[in-house]
């Protein structure tokens, strides 16, 4: 069975900084994979490269067996690889429902030539409206459907971020710190939401998260990065026992705390 996502010796350097430095791993379809590492480990940069937002300095990304098209941000998303952002992202002036509709529409009408097919726009709009209703229900955002995103509490804004990604109908969702800045109850709700996205909607997940207990509960496999390199890779239990992981991640975390 081909891997859903495969990274081969992937690198991204910024001047002298090796933000991602020779990372290789393959993820089988249908999994929840955790990606952890201290601040600056290269997790977000990895997402940026994998989604085609920035070019790799070296190495290859394969999604469902096909390579990343160089210099075409958006191409991976059109194939079903959707990411959510570490910082909250929204369009000013639009309410929650409109965000979900727009996310669905942007995926459906990604390129101008798609508009030429007869009836495509009307069909895409109907579908986007249905999808928005569905996801409002699914994520519990229905109560604030008309509220401008920027006016929502931070926890709800983080849910909107994931909900928008969901509206673009991913087969693989890369979630960048979906629980960052959330309180205990909100974190549990986010964890439950991610689990339901996986189980009920059949979406594979790669989740970047600093909350170790949460990510260890959630994922079947954990990959730990430090200084742009993979330092541990295995089940959460295996990674927790790995010496490199304890030194590089828990060590620095314990110092900080």
């Amino acid at each position: 069975m081909t891997a859903q996502l495969e990274l081969r010796n992937l690198s991204r350097h910024f001047g002298g900084i090796r933000a991602v430095d020779g990372v290789s791993f393959a993820i089988a379809p249908g999994r929840i994979t955790g990606l952890v590492g201290p601040n600056g480990a290269g997790k977000s940069t990895l997402f940026n490269v994998v989604t085609g937002t920035i070019r790799p300095s070296g190495g290859t990304v394969l999604f469902e067996g096909r390579p990343l098209a160089a210099g075409q941000p958006g191409a991976m998303a059109r194939r079903g690889l959707i990411r959510s952002f570490q910082s909250t992202m929204s369009w000013p002036e639009l309410g929650v429902r409109r965000h979900l509709e727009q996310a669905a529409l942007l995926r459906a009408l990604a390129a101008p030539r798609l508009l030429l097919r007869r009836g495509r726009i009307a069909e895409a709009r109907r579908r986007a409206a249905r999808l928005a209703d569905d996801i409002l229900e699914f994520t519990g955002l229905a109560a604030v459907a008309e509220a401008p995103v920027a006016t929502l509490p931070y926890g709800s804004q983080k849910i909107v971020g994931v909900a928008m990604a969901l509206a673009a109908e991913p087969t693989l969702l890369l979630a960048d710190e979906p629980a960052a800045g959330l309180n205990g109850a909100e974190t549990l709700a986010m964890e439950a939401l991610l689990r339901r996205i996986h189980r009920e909607r059949g979406v594979s997940l790669v989740v970047v998260e600093h909350d170790l207990p949460m990510i260890m509960r959630l994922c079947d496999r954990l990959i730990a990065l430090a200084d742009g390199r993979v330092i541990a890779d295995g089940t959460p239990a295996e990674v927790r026992r790995s010496r490199h992981f304890i030194e590089a991640y828990l060590g620095s975390d314990a110092d900080a705390a």
Partner: protein, 308 residues
């Protein structure tokens, strides 16, 4: 804009557009035709501004439209409407092909790149005496006509130009206010987010860039067949800068902005004709005052907060 305000604006626009017919004066027709032609160039620049790209090559695309239309009509013997369509297709195709490369560049670099492109286009007209006539340009361009209907007389040509402007505005509105407009706005408002959802930003920007070249080419074709002769310097960067000033004066955020700007700036030199010495100074001071006191342009006064 409220409904009443929209109705008033539409009536005012219609009154202004039809005024030359009432005046019935040859010179008024002439100025009105130039407003339409230069206004179209300003609309073409407006399109590039909407994708956040200042293109200084629009004068060049106007030139491509003018030369293509003139040569297709004069040397290839095509009737004017076909020459016009041919010119539009050629300019749009060139812009789409170039756009794939140059639209990857953003901001000031894009402005500089298109500055070079605009100058290069003019240089090609100068250097390639065959078929472009070098510095002398092209003469004897057949006047416009629609089948048996001659558009040579100024009232007829103005009527035609007015219809063209109206159709172009409708098309541009369809582009900016419809589903494509939704995509373009979402890109303008949050590019990383839009991209993360699959938007092929380059393809969208290329579409708008090609459309902008098409509108510039229409302007060029009208210009060529109205005057009957063209020469390279009419299409240099100065023409684009004038179009940019029209956008700023009329209001960059508004589709009517470039036309409002053309309506003010094209006749302006005629008003100051009596005081030629101060013409440039008065022009400069008016611009300065406008930008200081009306940063959203004159159109911004009418529009309130709404977009097209």
């Amino acid at each position: 804009m409220g409904r009443a305000a929209t109705a008033v604006a539409a009536l005012a626009a219609a009154a202004i557009a039809l005024a030359p017919f009432l005046a019935g004066d040859g010179f008024v027709y002439h100025v009105a035709i130039l407003v339409a032609i230069e206004g179209l160039l300003a609309v073409s620049l407006h399109l590039t501004l909407r994708i956040g790209q200042l293109s200084l090559a629009q004068g060049g695309f106007m030139g491509i439209g003018a030369y293509a239309s003139a040569l297709l009509a004069r040397d290839a013997g095509l009737p004017f409407p076909l020459a016009l369509v041919g010119a539009v297709v050629i300019a749009a195709a060139i812009a789409a092909a170039l756009g794939t490369v140059i639209l990857r560049v953003r901001g000031v670099q894009f402005a500089l790149l298109t500055f070079g492109l605009g100058e290069a286009i003019v240089l090609i007209f100068v250097e390639f005496v065959v078929p472009f006539g070098g510095n002398n340009g092209l003469m004897g361009i057949p006047p416009a006509s629609l089948g048996p209907l001659s558009l040579q007389a100024r009232p007829a040509f103005y009527g035609f130009a007015l219809a063209v402007v109206f159709l172009v505005l409708l098309a541009v509105r369809g582009l900016l206010a419809g589903t494509p407009g939704m995509v373009l706005r979402s890109l303008a408002d949050n590019e990383p987010l839009s991209r993360s959802l699959g938007t092929d930003e380059l393809a969208w920007r290329r579409l708008v860039f090609a459309a902008s070249a098409a509108v510039a080419a229409i302007s060029g074709s009208l210009y060529a067949h109205y005057l009957g002769y063209i020469s390279p310097e009419a299409f240099n960067v100065g023409a684009t800068v004038k179009a940019l000033i029209m956008n700023v004066v009329g209001g960059v955020g508004l589709l009517a902005g470039p036309l409002i700007g053309a309506l003010i700036l094209v006749p302006l030199p005629e008003l100051f004709r009596a005081s030629v010495r101060y013409q440039q100074l008065l022009y400069g001071l008016s611009l300065l005052a406008l930008m200081l006191f009306l940063p959203r342009g004159l159109g911004g006064l009418l529009a309130g907060r709404s977009r097209p």
